[in-house]
Symmetry: C2
Subunit: 375 residues, 2 copies
């Protein structure tokens, strides 16, 4: 079965590595040459909205997916009319717009912070009444890795002026003003849902993953989440993500990020795709998020999400690591994306998997000493 993947970055590459053994073949739609996924399948080199490229990409395909959420809405719609696109264009459009995303969460009873849209300068006064500072101003679209956002603290100038300055800095594009959430930890739930002919829908969850960011970029993930000793947060996250997936009749892997607060989980955002905070599943779970995404997209049964104990993942950003140094760390598994070094660029990740979280403390400390980012 050939699967089309919009995007040929590292997520496409890892989908390819996971899918070839299952008999999947791949076709990637990707504008850049030498993309990380190029080795794993055919590449249609074209911009994402190029009609000729899309025609060639879609030819003879029954199933397609995407590896990043900024696929143009028209591209997703066009594909949906010709083949089975999973996750659906609707899930994608919600994830592309922070207002639609937060509204969807809220309407489903999934806790979110206060938020207000700002599309013009005239909306700023009303927004700050609804969402007092401290707050975060984010572009509604195209933000990632902490880009396109400003943290706004209570200052000497009035709130509206503070927001106006930040909104100008972000280019006066449509934004969302969100209450600043005082969180003790950040976690994500990676889940997968499949619709199988004759079997109804099935859902599988990975353990709750705790994430640490540096400069807005994911630095470390730990699973199961150390902040959730009782398992209550995982239970709550599963319930929210189940509600979300069922309401969207979702197919594929989803990642939902939450803040952990004194009042419980607060949903931050969703990614309708395999996610960096689930990369540890390649080494730490029976079935990786990549394989399960493909199984769901290709209408195959889901694989077990049971885990081999505990896992830690650390991203490699900007600077190429010395592979032999990393591989000296017991149990370290290296995953490079075949990309040249460039400040701020995700070049790979390392996972550690062991029977218990405790068994990973020493190698994790060693790994953290070795990994230097170039931002």
């Amino acid at each position: 079965m050939k699967i089309g993947v919009v995007g040929g970055g590292q997520l496409g590459r890892m989908l390819g590595l996971a899918g070839l053994p299952l008999g999947f073949q791949f076709r990637f739609l990707e504008p850049s040459a030498d993309c990380p996924a190029a080795r794993l399948g055919e590449v249609i080199r074209a911009p994402y909205h190029d009609m000729d490229g899309l025609e060639r990409f879609a030819q003879d395909l029954s199933f397609a997916t995407y590896e990043f959420e900024n696929v143009p809405a028209e591209t997703a719609q066009w594909l949906s009319e010709r083949l089975t696109l999973a996750p659906t264009a609707r899930a994608l459009s919600i994830a592309q717009d922070r207002i639609a995303e937060k509204t969807t969460f809220r309407d489903l009873g999934i806790p979110v912070q206060n938020f207000a849209g700002i599309s013009s300068a005239g909306e700023i006064e009303a927004a700050v009444l609804k969402v007092p500072l401290p707050a975060v101003l984010k572009t509604r679209r195209l933000g990632y890795d902490g880009k396109g956002q400003r943290v706004l603290r209570v200052g000497s100038t009035d709130a509206a002026s503070t927001v106006r300055t930040a909104w100008n800095e972000l280019g006066k594009v449509p934004c969302i003003l969100e209450s600043f959430v005082a969180f003790s930890a950040e976690v994500s739930m990676i889940a997968v849902r499949a619709r199988n002919p004759g079997h109804g829908a099935s859902i599988a969850f990975y353990p709750l993953t705790q994430n640490e960011h540096r400069d807005g970029i994911l630095w470390k993930s730990q699973a199961p989440a150390p902040c959730d000793q009782s398992g209550e947060l995982a239970e709550s996250a599963r319930a929210h993500v189940r509600t979300l997936m069922e309401s969207l009749d979702y197919v594929g892997v989803i990642a939902v990020e939450f803040f952990v607060t004194d009042a419980g989980l607060v949903a931050n955002e969703m990614a309708p795709r395999v996610h960096n905070s689930g990369h540890w599943t390649t080494d730490g779970a029976v079935t990786s998020q990549f394989e399960n995404h493909l199984r769901a997209v290709g209408t195959m049964p889901l694989g077990s999400t049971e885990c081999h104990g505990a896992s830690v993942m650390i991203n490699l950003v900007g600077r190429s690591p010395i592979a032999s140094r990393i591989l000296e760390i017991p149990r370290a598994k290296l995953h490079l994306y075949g990309k040249g070094p460039r400040p701020g660029r995700k070049l790979g990740h390392v996972t550690l998997t062991g029977p218990t979280a405790h068994s990973l403390a020493a190698p994790t400390a060693e790994l953290e000493r070795l990994v230097a980012w170039d931002l």
Copy 2:
């Protein structure tokens, strides 16, 4: 780092899948079009002894390995003079000749059955005096998957006639006559040895694996070996394989197959490469045999051979399986080689990994019911 691999079959494919995340690139030397490894690297399509092909294959390479042991000796020698070939041409030449192999084992104190060479009809009388029937007559070279051998039982004709008939059937090529070993089980030890600059040599062993063959082809592997509850067989196998690797100054993965007898292990044969009975390590061990082979060949530190409990592997031969049926089995991991069906051809394998051997009993039974071979 680019690694050359002589051969582009499924073992080359799995080396590629394991090596890409570590930053390895691959070049395969392979005479057939559409080989299973083609997707994972550059392919030099040429016969193994073709000088022009070899020149193109070796160009700018520092390291090479092979994925089958019938690489022509001259090819191995030629490569050894130009780059680091691992395992060495010497290890390969021993593995290619059953007499050299058995002699090496015997000289190192590794138990082997009685054996005698037969290169001409005139040697048959002496051979049957040394090796009375029941015995097995095998071609000295190019045997695999039970091909090129005859089991010779005590019959109504005299032993020499029985051997002569079999020898004629095998084409009068140089053969080895081996005492028939009354074994209770077959096991293999997969091990890996690396020489690291400044670190000396290091060796790692996987758990002893128990193997069942059908019509000479590996049907099922189980690790750790159920026949070795005390761990004594594994200890003995490790000692033998350590002796062998050290005496050969071996680099890479080796597989040594043993018979389990009342008197302990009897060495059957060695494969100087990744081996079918180690395929379960992709899912069942922290570091697979494929990754560890590449780490050794590329002078990188070896990875942990610790396991995620117990594993079972079943081969898929001749007939393409219905992937969705297999994937319904809890924890089943499917590995297809991208080959079309043909009687007797290895098309893929399935592994099951669980916390204990007991936990695998039910899914293994289910898998055995599903898998039908076409020989």
